[in-house]
């Protein structure tokens, strides 16, 4: 028992350190990527190639004055950064980031007693059997921090930002949750470790469940308030949105929370659709061992970094949505699509497993992959045309028609 506790504490420390340092470096990466995409060089003054820039930023933020608006709700104003920060970090507790590591030790440490651990240690802080539900539950808590920050600031911009954020996050929560049901149908388990194991035996879920992946990715962007869905911050409209009134380290915490959310969403995409820590085309990594653990953790890191880069890539490519377009996309497109896809996958899995009697997960995956090619063609080739990009001409003509039909009341 004590051995387990010791290992858990060590894992917690490790994950926490990696995330915090990683988040600091991500701010630099974001600035570098944005600079490169705009033919600039990015920060390169502090340290070699600007690597110490996050340290300089952090130092500056600690030394800055903490302002507090006179009419703000003092305690909620103080608590809001923590509320947005904690869920982002909590989520990482359930994400498996490597192959189980064999750990054997048995030693006594003075008054603390005897520490024993034998067998393999799962490379995840808490290997919850309901990891998946935990993710959905905690990720919806992030909205509290933002809504409270917006409300407690007692400022119109912050309030509007908070309102937008809460509406947006609640809306996309639905599409996000629904898009993950096919994953559960495939794996038959809500434990993230089991989902990863299932992908190792069959195909990575991105192939058989491409549409789920697509919807999850878009919802993930919306959940983390990143462009093209960064309405809550929308500089040109709301100054800085919900953190307008924040300064110094409190502001910094919102920043950290945003990047921690990005890391978590990318880790979720990797775990659920890209095989987690799985190394493709080999079964060597499933055997378990020290080298396997290191290699798979490295592979997981590479995958997550790719998705983080992807998030930044999107940010510096796409312009911001209009708010009604955002809501329309969430409720009128993504949610019905996710619901319909659940039905399609249900039927497909029933047919494959019960009627055709295919039990090999690879063949099952291939059949579903064929299906997802058809679905992708339907969605991106036919449904997408003229649906997401809509000129104002059509809206205007319907408005005109309505105006003509309405009786003149004057």
């Amino acid at each position: 028992m004590k051995g387990f506790l010791l290992l858990s504490v060590l894992k917690m420390l490790m994950v926490f350190t990696v995330i915090m340092v990683g988040v600091a470096l991500l701010t630099l990466m974001e600035r570098k990527v944005s600079a490169w995409m705009q033919n600039r060089r990015g920060p390169n003054r502090v340290g070699p190639a600007g690597l110490l820039q996050p340290a300089a930023d952090g130092l500056k933020n600690i030394l800055k004055e903490e302002t507090s608006p006179a009419l703000a709700h003092r305690w909620l104003f103080l608590l809001a950064p923590a509320f947005s920060f904690i869920p982002a970090l909590l989520l990482f507790a359930v994400i498996p980031f490597g192959a189980p590591l064999p750990v054997d030790f048995d030693f006594t440490l003075g008054p603390l007693g005897r520490f024993v651990h034998q067998g393999s240690m799962p490379m995840v802080v808490a290997d919850l059997p309901i990891g998946f539900l935990f993710v959905l539950a905690i990720s919806s808590m992030g909205v509290y921090g933002i809504a409270l920050a917006g409300w407690s600031s007692n400022s119109k911009y912050a309030l509007l930002g908070g309102l937008r954020a809460s509406a947006q996050m609640v809306s996309y929560e639905v599409a996000m949750g629904l898009s993950l049901i096919p994953v559960l149908l495939m794996s038959g388990s809500v434990s993230l470790s089991a989902i990863v194991r299932d992908q190792q035996m069959g195909l990575w879920y991105v192939l058989p469940l491409f549409l789920s992946f697509f919807i999850f990715l878009i919802s993930g962007f919306a959940e983390t308030n990143r462009l093209p869905f960064d309405m809550p911050e929308a500089e040109s409209e709301l100054i800085a949105g919900y953190h307008t009134e924040y300064s110094a380290m409190k502001f910094s915490f919102f920043f950290i929370a945003e990047y921690a959310n990005v890391v978590t969403v990318c880790a979720m995409v990797t775990t659920l659709f890209f095989g987690g820590w799985d190394i493709p085309f080999t079964h060597w990594d499933e055997a378990g061992g020290v080298w396997q653990s290191i290699a798979t953790a490295g592979f997981f890191f590479v995958k997550v970094m790719f998705w983080i880069f992807f998030v930044m890539w999107i940010r510096w490519t796409l312009p911001r949505f209009r708010y009604d377009q955002l809501m329309a996309l969430g409720w009128k497109v993504l949610m019905p699509l996710a619901l319909a896809y659940i039905m399609v996958v249900c039927v497909a899995i029933y047919v494959i497993r019960r009627i055709l009697g295919i039990t090999d997960p690879i063949y099952e995956g291939l059949v579903l992959f064929g299906l997802s090619v058809v679905v992708a063609f339907l969605v991106f080739g036919i449904l997408d045309s003229g649906t997401f990009i809509k000129g104002s001409a059509r809206q205007r003509s319907t408005l005109n028609a309505r105006a003509r039909r309405a009786p003149v009341t004057s």
Binding site: N39, W313, L318, G386, I389, G391, A393
Partner: protein
């Protein structure tokens, strides 16, 4: 409709948001490997085209920090005629004329307040002796305000190239 808004017809049915996004992403990705346009200013800078430093050079017509030219004996060419303080629109030139033993006029005090100057270059244009010039030079930061009033000695000791002002007969500067 009361307000006439011109609405452009778009080919909505041939347009796909996902395809457009992918196209945009390809563009931004391509830009990541293009040549960077940033000039690393303090390390690489332009000090006029004839030096050939930096990626770009400021124009030879640039009107920057003033410079007083001197004759072979090291005395300033200025004859204290008073035309430059007369024409200066910002009133930044202070000139007190003096006369030497041969009866030649020379400036006892000649000061230019670089803060007040609008760098129009009229002083150079109007000068009959081609003494005062504006120069191809832009780095003149100082630690105190009074250091921005350049006296005659400081104006004479500047070494940067002088501006070739706009020539009406050669408007493109060829």
């Amino acid at each position: 409709m009361a307000i006439g808004v011109k609405v452009l017809k778009r080919p909505e049915h041939q347009v796909s948001y996902v395809r457009a996004t992918l196209k945009g992403m390809a563009l931004t990705f391509k830009h990541m490997f293009e040549k960077k346009v940033t000039m690393q200013y303090p390390e690489e800078k332009s000090t006029g085209s004839e030096h050939g430093m930096g990626q770009w050079s400021i124009s030879q017509r640039w009107r920057g920090t003033h410079r007083m030219l001197t004759d072979e004996q090291g005395r300033s060419k200025c004859v204290a005629c008073g035309l430059c303080p007369q024409i200066c629109p910002a009133n930044c030139i202070k000139l007190v004329p003096g006369e030497d033993e041969r009866g030649d006029r020379y400036p006892l005090i000649y000061e230019i307040d670089e803060f007040r100057c609008v760098f129009c270059g009229y002083c150079q244009e109007v000068c009959p002796e081609e003494a005062i010039h504006v120069g191809v030079h832009y780095e003149n930061s100082e630690y105190s305000r009074d250091r921005f009033v350049y006296d005659l000695e400081r104006l004479s000791s500047q070494t940067h190239t002088v501006s070739t002002l706009w020539d009406p007969t050669d408007p493109k500067g060829e």
